[in-house]
Symmetry: C2
Subunit: 575 residues, 2 copies
Amino acid sequence: CIVHKRGADILHDPWFNKDTGFPLTERDRLGIRGLLPPRVMTCVQQCDRFIESFRSLENNTKGEPENVVALAKWRMLNRLHDRNETLYYRVLIDNIKDFAPIIYTPTVGLVCQNYSGLYRRPRGMYFSAKDKGEMMSMIYNWPAPQVDMIVITDGSRILGLGDLGVQGIGIPIGKLDMYVAAAGINPQRVLPIMLDVGTNNEKLLQNDLYLGVRQPRLEGEEYLEIIDEFMEAAFTRWPKAVVQFEDFQAKWAFGTLERYRKKFCMFNDDVQGTAGVALAGLLGTVRAQGRPISDFVNQKIVVVGAGSAGLGVTKMAVQAVARMAGISESEATKNFYLIDKDGLVTTERTKLDPGAVLFAKNPAEIREGASIVEVVKKVRPHVLLGLSGVGGIFNEEVLKAMRESDSCKPAIFAMSNPTLNAECTAADAFKHAGGNIVFASGSPFENVELENGKVGHVNQANNMYLFPGIGLGTLLSGARIVTDGMLQAASECLASYMTDEEVQKGILYPSINNIRHITAEVGAAVLRAAVTDDIAEGHGDVGPKDLSHMSKEDTVNYITRNMWFPVYSPLVHEK
Amino acid sequence: CIVHKRGADILHDPWFNKDTGFPLTERDRLGIRGLLPPRVMTCVQQCDRFIESFRSLENNTKGEPENVVALAKWRMLNRLHDRNETLYYRVLIDNIKDFAPIIYTPTVGLVCQNYSGLYRRPRGMYFSAKDKGEMMSMIYNWPAPQVDMIVITDGSRILGLGDLGVQGIGIPIGKLDMYVAAAGINPQRVLPIMLDVGTNNEKLLQNDLYLGVRQPRLEGEEYLEIIDEFMEAAFTRWPKAVVQFEDFQAKWAFGTLERYRKKFCMFNDDVQGTAGVALAGLLGTVRAQGRPISDFVNQKIVVVGAGSAGLGVTKMAVQAVARMAGISESEATKNFYLIDKDGLVTTERTKLDPGAVLFAKNPAEIREGASIVEVVKKVRPHVLLGLSGVGGIFNEEVLKAMRESDSCKPAIFAMSNPTLNAECTAADAFKHAGGNIVFASGSPFENVELENGKVGHVNQANNMYLFPGIGLGTLLSGARIVTDGMLQAASECLASYMTDEEVQKGILYPSINNIRHITAEVGAAVLRAAVTDDIAEGHGDVGPKDLSHMSKEDTVNYITRNMWFPVYSPLVHEK
C-alpha cells in the first residue's frame, strides 16, 4: 500500500497507523523508529490487549446503570476507531456478537442522544443549511480519492428517538461500521454524511453544547434543494458510489426515495432494508408454520405502525405476493391490514399519508379506526407485525387474541428499536400468545425458557442481515440504480438461507457470527438480479459480460474475494 | 503560523487541530469545511465543555476507589492532550491546582505502574538498548525542527515506586506538561525521552503486555554508552536544548550528573531540583523561626534518606552554608547529620555511597548507626528533613523528640512521594511535634485544624516551584551548562518570594495558582546568575550583551514575554 506521508503523520492517521504493530524494518523505512515503544506486537496480541482492557472495564463498571456502562464501552471502541482503524475492525469482526449492540442498536441511540457531550473527534462530513451553493467544492475536502459506500441522515427520526438534529451523525457512522464489518467494504472508502438542515427539537436548540445549526428544520423546496445539491456533488465526484438513506422522517424517507431512486444509485434502509428483513422473516414463517414458501400468497398479516418502516415492509410484502401470484399490487393487498395511531386504516380515513393509501381497507369488512384487538380477533392473522415505535403496544389482551390465529404457530414480530420501544418483550409474547409462537424483534432479547422445558427462540430481525449484501452486491454489479427486483432477491435469499430443521424450531434468521457468509450470499443474489434487470455495468476490471457468465457459486466467490479484511499490509512511502 | 499540511491531516495533528474552534474562513482556507460539525466554538466555550464533562466524570465515579477515579481523570486529560494540545494546556493552566496532581504527582506514579494497560498513543521518543549506533539518525525522526526542553528517564527509580522500565515514560511526559503550563515552554518544542536499557523488575519481564525491551538492565560501560550516544545525538541536532534528568537510581543520578554537567546543558531534578526547593524551605524556615536568613549558617539539620534526593539536598544546603559563611564545604557540614537505612552515617561506615562520604560524622560525637530518635534527642535539630521513600518513618516517638528542638518552632519536612511514602502525615506531625511546628511535605496533605483554633499550614515542597524557572532561565540565557550558582540563585529567589507576614504563619511556599509569576522571577534569577558566571550566550536575537544590560525588572519582563500561552493563532497553509 503506497502512502504519501511519513514520520509522526503516519502515527496520527488512523487509516495507516499500526502503532506497536509496525515491524522494525517498516519503522526505519517510514522514519518512525524511536517514536514508538520498542516492543513490536502482532495484530492478534494487540487484539488480546484491547479485549483484556475491555473486560476490565466490564469488571470496573459492574452494578452501574446500564446506560453508563453502554456509553463507557462505546467510548472505548470509539477511541480505538479514531486511533487505528485496522485493529478496530479486526476486534469488531472477531467479536461481532458482543460489539454490534454497542456500535449500533441499541447503544447507538444513546450515543446520538448524548452526542454533544460525547463528541471528541469529527468523523464523516457535515453539509448544513449554511453550505448552500458550496457543496460541489466542499465534497473535495474529503481525503479519500475513491468512495464506495455513503450513508446519510438528516437526523429527523433517529431510531424511535425522534428529531436529534446534527446528533444523528452517530447513525451513519455506526451503520458504515457494520458495512465494513459485515460486507468488507474498505473503511477508507466509506463516508458517513450528516445533512444538518436544522432541528425542531427545542431542547437541543437551547443546549449550549449543541454542535449543529441553530434553526428550525428546513421544509419543502428549501429542504429538497439541500438534498439535491448534496446528491449532485457526491455523484459528480464518485459516480459509482452507493448512497443509503437512514432514519429520515416518513414523509422524506418516501419523498427522497421516489425523487432519487430512478436517477441515483440509492436505497432507504428503513423503508426497503427493514421491509426486506421482515419479508424474509414472513417468508420463513410460512415454512415454520409447516407450509411451502409459495403459500405466502395466502398469508394474513396485520401491520401496526404506518411510519416509513411500517409502510416500507407492507409495500414490499405486497409486491412479493403480486410477483408470486402474478396479480396486481392492489389485488395483492387483500390479506394485509394496516393499523396506525388512529386504528385500522380504511378508505374513510381523511388526511392519509400518501404511502398508506394503497392499504386502506373497505370499512365494510372492519370499521375505520378499529383497535388492534378488534382486527386480530376478526382477521385471525398468521402474523402480527409491529413497526410502531410504541413500547408495549402488544399488551396482554392483544397477545392472547393471537391464540385464535388461523395458524397453530402464530407469528409475533415486535420490530421497533431501541429496546424500550419494542411492541412487547419476548417473555410476554411466549407467555400470553403461547409457547408455540414464532417470535421476532428489532432489538435484542434473551431466548425464553418455556414451561415445557423447550426454548422459545428469539429472532432479532436485524437489518444487518440485508443492507451489507444490498450495498456490496449493488457496488460490485456496477448498477446505477437499485431496483425492487434486486431487493426482492435479497429477501428471498435470506429466507432460503435457513435449513428446514432450523425453521421448524422457529429460527428465522442465521447467527450474526457468520455475517460475512450471509452477506456474500445476499450480495450474489443482488448482483445476479441486477444482471437479470440488465442494469449491471461491472466494477473495476470486471465488466458486465464477465458478471453474466458467472454461475451462482462463481458470483458468491467473486463477492467474497472483494471483501476487505483487516490485516496490516506493508506500507511504502512515496513523496 | 505557517503549516505544511491541510485537510484531514490538520484535524489529526494535535499541534494544529482546533476542532470546533476553527473559524469558517479558516475552514475554507485549509480545506476542512464540512469535515467538522457546523457549530463554531470559542476556546473558552471548548474549555467549559471539557470541564463540564470532567465534572460529570467526577459525579459518575463518586464512591469508587481513589485509584480508579484518578486514572479515569488522567485518561480524560490524556485523550485531550492527544487531540488538541492548545486546548489541553489552556484547561491545564486555568485549573492547575486541580489538574497538576493528576498529570503529575501523585497520579503519574499510578499511570507508570499501569502504563502497559493504559498506553494508547505514543508520545515522545524511545531509545532502547537495541538502538545502539542508530540514535544519530533516529533523532531526526522527531517532527519538530527546534527543541528547547528535553526530559529523560531510564525508568530505574520512578518516584518511590522503584524500577518500572519503559513504563517510566509517564514521568518525562508529565514533567514536560508542567514545563509548558508553568514556564510557557512551547509544547511543539518539548521532547520526553525514555532510555529503555532493560529492567530488573521481574513482574514486568513476565507481563505479556510489557512494551519495553525484555532484558535485565544494562550496567556499567554498556549503560553509559547508551546515555552518551543519546546526549551526542540530541545536542548535535539541537545544540541549545536544555536536558533534564529525572528519576534515575541514585548511583546513575549522580554518575550522569558528574559525567555530563560540564559538557552539556543539563541538570538532574531529583538531585538539584528537590534540593533547591528544600533549600528554599530551609532558608524560609530560619525566617519562620524568627531569625534572619543569614543565620542559616547555624541551622542544625538532620536528613533521613541517602538516596539521590537526600544527598542532593544535603550537598546543596552545605554549599549554601559554605558560600554564606565563606568557609569550605567540609567545614560547612558541621551542623548536618545524614541518616540512611543503617542509621547515622559516620566515618566508621564501610561500603559507603561516594556521594555520602562528605557527610560522615565523627562517631565520637554520636555512635555509628544511631537511630533517628537518638540523633534528634542528642542534636536537638532546628529541622528534621525526610527524603527516605519510607512511609511513616517519622513515628510518634521521633515526632515527640522534636519538641526538644533548639527552636521553639521546629521544622518537620516529610518530602517523599507518592503520598504513601511520606515520612509522616501532616496531622501526626502537628499532633505529636506540637501545634507551632513548620511543616512541609512532598505529596499533597490538607491543612490541619489545630486545637487552639488556628490552622496548621501544610507546605507542599513541590519541585514545581523551581524546575520550570531553572529550565526557562537557562534556555533564555543561552548558557551551555547549568552552574551551582544558577541553581543557588533559584532557591534564594524562591525563599525571598514569601512576605514576612506569610513566613511568620509558617507558609514557606507560594500558591501554585500563580506559578507563572513565580517561574518568571526564578527564571530571571537563573538568567542573571548565568550572566554573572559569564556563560550566557543569549537566545534568538537577544545576545549576551543585551542580557547583561537588563535590570532585574527588565529580565522578569523578558522572561514573561517569552512564555508561550495557549491561544489559537491563525493558520496559513504553505506547500
